[in-house]
């Protein structure tokens, strides 16, 4: 055994001076064509696109569900839907939007963008990345298969007991929801671990933590939160499933259980999750908006710190979902104060974005319109949240449409609008073609007007006392006109979303070619071709500032060190990328990256078989799924010489 088997002096060089380098990298990194490559790929770009497309499919499904029940609510005493149908539809809508769209769409963008933003050739754990996607899509199918069979979740996405207890909801609906959510939680958790490890270990040399794009801060913060928050909801659903199927008494007050335990566990997860599905979107705005203001983001450090601070405080506010449950006043006061204080870091972001526009020279592209309108919508949603953080206001407004208005202003305002902006901003990078700007204006204004016409009146119907979660309402309450306007607005908003999808589909075929950097953006993803090659970077870039592509234009002194994008670590002895230290991003070691593999998709399917066996009470199927999962995991983790995991030289 010689030490040289395990060490190498990496070559530094320039891609242009190495004829054949890019061809060799292409052969090493490209996914095999055909169905085999489709199932086995671990390329973060392919996985990211899949995540985004799948999340958009769920956005459409969830949207159609809401369009149906908005018809039911358009006027008083309508009978379009039965109460049972309404329950399933509004639960599926909430569950779909919050769990199958809002989180995964941001995961998709981050999956696609992170290695490009950070100057790496893939995520730290490429097979885990594939596993995360496959489990997500399996969990989505699991939940929608139940819905198609008439057994969709039907107690609201928050699924409160005792409504969701066996005694009051005897069908398998809640069992499907419980197990589907546990399955989805596995996907989110392993994905979150991957993001954290990638952030800590795969940043390009020189990209110290004060040079990282804010999107990476947003997704890192969300992922760290998910690591701690997801177990709460997975456990809550598991305990509920035991209560319903094994006769346990966790939530049954007659035998020493407590219904409020559900609400605690659910919201201990639920509130951090709300931030997890908005902070990466805020990060996209923090990176995208300055490009169209032609200047760096104002207050980078404050925005990065505010992102983390929001999340930390976000773990201490869950009880504001439970102000009306009769908890002791000391507890209520603490959580009310925390809910109000969280406005401070939120406001830091808002003022930073406004100042960036104020001090910049705005270019009014469609992406800019989406990003800038997000600031307005976030402020409206933030103010209504601040209001209900106050106990007396919450006691008046809880369980009314005011809360429905609030959740839609924060989730559509801080998730859908930034995502639409991100689509306009990054579509050229992903596909090599521009989205149509003219259709884009129609797209933006239809969505913006439709959204506000649809959702602002909900504040008023809530103030007038209209309760949420009801399938219809009586005439003469003063809610008729407002509900009709809401329904009309929601349809206009849906047309706006449809225009976005039309634009994406038509521009994908016929859009104007984009070039490498159509917006003249400052970050590393724009240094690659559009779309990027399978290996992302022919040499690993070395970063010397926060804006590698704007260096020399920001008035910095000539003596300032410049980033090196053309020359750098070649790393061409097989699939390799550079591991760097966690804070300073000093080169640390050469990481061997795995090739395409079937193990992730097999593990996802095995787990789905296990959960299907459990929900249908077919013991042998569950056991078969568990054994297959265990066998696949052993095969996956079998030490491989080519990955530098066993004795002997790893280099080919």
């Amino acid at each position: 055994m010689s030490v040289s088997d395990y060490e190498r002096v990496p070559e530094i060089g320039s891609a242009v001076l190495r004829p054949g380098l890019t061809d060799r990298l292409e052969r090493m990194w490209e996914t095999r064509p055909g169905i085999r490559g489709w199932f086995a790929t671990v390329d973060h770009k392919r996985i990211g696109i899949r995540y985004i497309v799948t999340a958009f499919a769920f956005l459409i499904a969830g949207g159609l569900e809401s369009l149906i029940f908005r018809l039911q609510l358009a006027g008083p005493n309508l009978r379009l839907l039965t109460p049972e149908q309404y329950d399933q539809l509004f639960t599926m809508h909430g569950m779909t939007m919050i769990f199958l769209y809002a989180g995964p769409v941001l995961t998709g963008f981050s999956n696609y963008l992170w290695p490009l933003l950070l100057g790496a050739r893939d995520m730290a754990l490429p097979r885990i990345n594939a596993l995360s996607y496959w489990i997500y899509v399996c969990a989505g199918i699991f939940l929608y298969a139940a819905f198609a069979a008439g057994f969709g979740p039907n107690d609201g996405w928050f699924n409160y007991v005792p409504y969701a207890a066996r005694a009051y909801n005897g069908g398998p609906n809640v069992d499907f929801y419980a197990l589907g959510m546990i399955l989805l939680g596995i996907s989110t958790t392993v994905g979150a671990v991957n993001f954290v490890v990638t952030f800590l270990r795969l940043r390009a040399p020189g990209m110290s933590i004060d040079r990282v794009p804010i999107l990476a801060w947003g997704t890192l913060t969300a992922s760290a939160a998910n690591i701690f928050a997801i177990p709460a909801v997975s456990l809550a659903f598991f305990l509920l499933w035991l209560d319903r199927n094994a006769g346990t008494h966790f939530f049954d007050a007659t035998t020493g259980g407590e219904a409020l335990l559900w609400q605690h566990l659910f919201w201990m997860f639920g509130h951090p999750w709300v931030y997890a599905i908005v902070l990466p979107a805020m990060g996209m705005v923090s990176d995208g908006l300055p490009v169209f203001c032609r200047r760096p983001l104002v207050g980078y450090s404050m925005v990065a710190l505010a992102t983390v601070a929001t999340m930390v405080l976000g773990f201490g506010v869950w009880v504001h979902h439970m102000f009306a449950t009769g908890l002791p006043s000391v507890s209520l006061s603490f959580f009310s104060a925390a809910s109000i204080i969280i406005a401070v870091p939120s406001a830091v972001g808002v003022f930073a974005w406004i100042a960036t526009i104020w001090y910049g020279r705005p270019v009014f592209t469609t992406a800019f319109l989406f990003f800038a309108s997000f600031i307005v919508l976030f402020t409206v949603g933030g103010v209504s949240g601040y209001m209900t953080g106050s106990l007396p206001v919450d006691w008046q407004l809880t369980d009314t449409y005011f809360i429905v208005a609030h959740i839609h202003y924060v989730l559509i305002g801080i998730n859908v609008f930034p995502v639409a902006g991100a689509a306009y901003f990054w579509f050229p990078k992903i596909t090599g073609r521009m989205l149509d700007e003219r259709l884009g204006r129609w797209n933006f204004w239809t969505m913006f007007v439709g959204f506000n016409v649809g959702f602002f009146p909900m504040h008023l119907s809530g103030l007038l006392g209209m309760p949420r979660r009801v399938y219809t309402y009586a005439d003469g309450m003063g809610w008729n006109g407002l509900n009709l306007i809401t329904t009309l607005g929601s349809y206009v908003f849906a047309v706006g979303v449809l225009l976005l999808i039309i634009n994406i589909v038509s521009s994908y075929r016929r859009g104007r070619p984009a070039g490498d950097n159509p917006w003249d953006s400052p970050t590393l993803e724009w240094a690659t071709t559009s779309p990027p090659p399978p290996y992302n970077f022919a040499v690993i870039p070395t970063v010397a500032s926060r804006h590698p592509l704007w260096e020399g234009r920001l008035g910095e002194p000539d003596t300032q060190q410049r980033s090196s994008l053309k020359a750098g670590f070649l790393l061409d002895h097989g699939r390799e990328t550079l591991g760097t230290t966690a804070l300073e991003a000093e080169p640390d070691l050469i990481l061997k990256m795995p090739a395409d593999s079937y193990t992730p998709v097999i593990l996802a399917m095995s787990l789905t078989i296990l959960f299907t066996g459990l929900v249908l009470h077919i013991g042998w199927l569950a056991v078969a799924g568990a054994l297959a999962a265990a066998a696949d995991t052993i095969a996956w983790t079998w030490p491989e010489r080519s990955l530098g995991q066993t004795a002997g030289a790893a280099d080919a």
């Binding site: 055994m1 088997d5 395990y6 060490e7 190498r8 002096v9 530094i12 754990l125 958790t189 979150a192 671990v193 954290v196 490890v197 690591i227 701690f228 177990p231 709460a232 456990l235 305990l239 035991l242 094994a246 006769g247 346990t248 008494h249 966790f250 049954d252 035998t255 020493g256 259980g257 407590e258 335990l261 605690h264 566990l265 070395t542 003596t559 300032q560 060190q561 410049r562 980033s563 090196s564 994008l565 053309k566 750098g568 670590f569 591991g579 080169p587 640390d588 070691l589 050469i590 061997k592 265990a630 052993i634 983790t637 030490p639 990955l643 530098g644 995991q645 066993t646 004795a647 790893a650």
Partner: protein, 201 residues
């Protein structure tokens, strides 16, 4: 100042001990697992704080230490055995590695057996009260983790016997061992919660 990339010295290649991506991933997996047990024990204390009929929480009085205390010792000993194995491979002693892992796995299985025996003798069931539900669910969660850990230790032991590891390439060992030490450490929290806290009141 022009672009400049410093020429590095020799750099490690591949999975190296605590610098491997898998080792970092295991740390964060353990954070999420620790959170899971945190929420389990929160559920215990939350339900314990509710009003209960006399002698229903814990049902039948504080659980006996007769089996649980020695079993705790067995689990700690297994952690020591695995640590001894890790110490061995860092010094290129493959026999010590395989022995330590195997011994740790056997002790883990012994723990599981004693735990099942203790389950058998409990005067309450999963469905008799919220206490029974908590006891079997929380200890069951822990046993599932021990079972996973035992499988990991046997896999590592088998790979060691195949001669896959040496004093540079042992990242798998440290990753698996980290998980095992966590499973043992979290038992202390479970043990303290179920067996010690009822005696403190």
């Amino acid at each position: 100042m022009p672009e400049h990339v410093a020429t590095p010295g020799p750099m490690a290649v591949g999975a190296i001990g605590t610098r491997a991506s898998g080792w970092w991933a295991m740390i964060f997996m353990i954070f999420t697992e620790a959170a899971l047990f945190g929420y389990l024990l929160f559920s215990y204390f939350y339900l314990a704080a509710q009003p209960h009929m006399p002698d229903t929480f814990p049902q039948g009085g504080s659980p006996s230490l007769r089996l649980a205390l020695p079993n705790t010792g067995i689990l700690l000993l297994s952690s020591a055995a695995v640590a001894w194995a890790q110490f061995g491979i860092e010094r290129d002693r493959p026999v010590q590695l395989a022995l330590g892992l195997g011994f740790g796995a056997v002790l883990g299985m012994l723990f599981l057996g004693i735990q099942v025996f203790e389950w058998w003798g409990q005067p309450f069931t999963l469905s008799s009260s919220s206490y029974g539900s908590l006891y079997f669910t929380v200890t069951g969660f822990h046993m599932a983790h021990v079972l996973a850990g035992v499988i990991i230790l046997w896999a590592l032991c088998a790979w060691s016997l195949l001669g896959l590891f040496n004093r540079v390439r042992y990242a798998h060992i440290h990753i698996g061992a980290l998980y095992w030490h966590f499973v043992d450490a979290v038992w202390l929290a479970v043990f303290f919660t179920f067996y010690v806290t009822p005696r403190l009141s």
